[in-house]
Symmetry: C2
Subunit: 161 residues, 2 copies
């Protein structure tokens, strides 16, 4: 039981594994992914680097569902995908994943996101943001995701010296 | 109504806003964030770059809740935070945020994550991953988050030429 040496010829033990990229993938109720991509462009200036779509299955379907749209945002890549009712559920049951975006101008970023259709939750506040920065605003997008718009992270502890 | 020009002296209209970083923040039911950090280290080789904690409030509390742990992983930063029952809910109601990790060795990465306490969901499959890569495995971590372990993204379309 306690010995699991390499019994079934696994991939050379569980040695070094290195990861080349981390990409949050936002699942959106089909067929709203295309709209979500448009929102992330308008709200945050995301740039779409590519998109793959499912084969069109239904005659009445106006546009094919998005398997994955790759969006460049703040030096990272996020993926936006349609998830249909009948597809394998990928719903996480974690307490919730939030996306922190750092910017020098929190107020302007929140205003821009709101003008694109996001909903500001609460005021921009100073301080105890988990991003460890200065000012923090919160915007919920039309697809249910929460974005924290934060001042760039500083070394913790030197808040308002 | 339709005129909103710059009525209340907003921050110089809603001009250019640039973002310097995007950091997914995983909320974990308090006080499990510290355990989650340990899991992400063991499972994925994440490196903790910093941690801020809440002031200790309760005598019986063994360790202070984590406001934010900054983990370096695959060239990105993720934040892991305790979220207490009585704190402002940040729960997103999106259809679900999944984290795609790209690696050359999907099988080894899945095996390592499973040996650290993750649960593999289904087999590693070839193909239609939303990450647009070759092989894709899925691991749910003990905190409810789903990780897709994928081959590095290629240009879409040249799958198995």
């Amino acid at each position: 039981m306690a010995q699991e040496e390499v019994q079934n010829g696994g991939p050379e033990k569980v040695a070094e594994v290195s990861f080349t990229a981390l990409k949050p993938q936002l699942m959106v109720e089909a067929p709203k992914a295309a709209d979500a991509v448009q929102f992330y462009k308008s709200a945050f200036g995301a740039v779409e680097a590519g998109r793959t779509v499912y084969p069109k299955r239904k005659a009445e379907q106006e546009q094919p569902h998005v398997l994955s749209s790759q969006l460049e945002l703040a030096g990272s890549t996020i993926l936006v995908s349609d998830i249909a009712d009948n597809s394998t559920p990928v719903k996480t049951d974690g307490t919730g994943c939030v996306l922190c975006l750092e910017t020098e101008d929190v107020e302007a970023a929140v205003a821009k996101a709101v003008s694109a259709g996001g909903v500001a939750e609460g005021e921009v506040t100073e301080g105890d943001g988990a991003c460890c920065g200065g000012r923090v605003g919160k915007v919920k997008d039309p697809y249910g995701y929460v974005w924290l718009i934060c001042s760039p992270a500083k070394k913790c502890g030197d808040a308002e010296a």
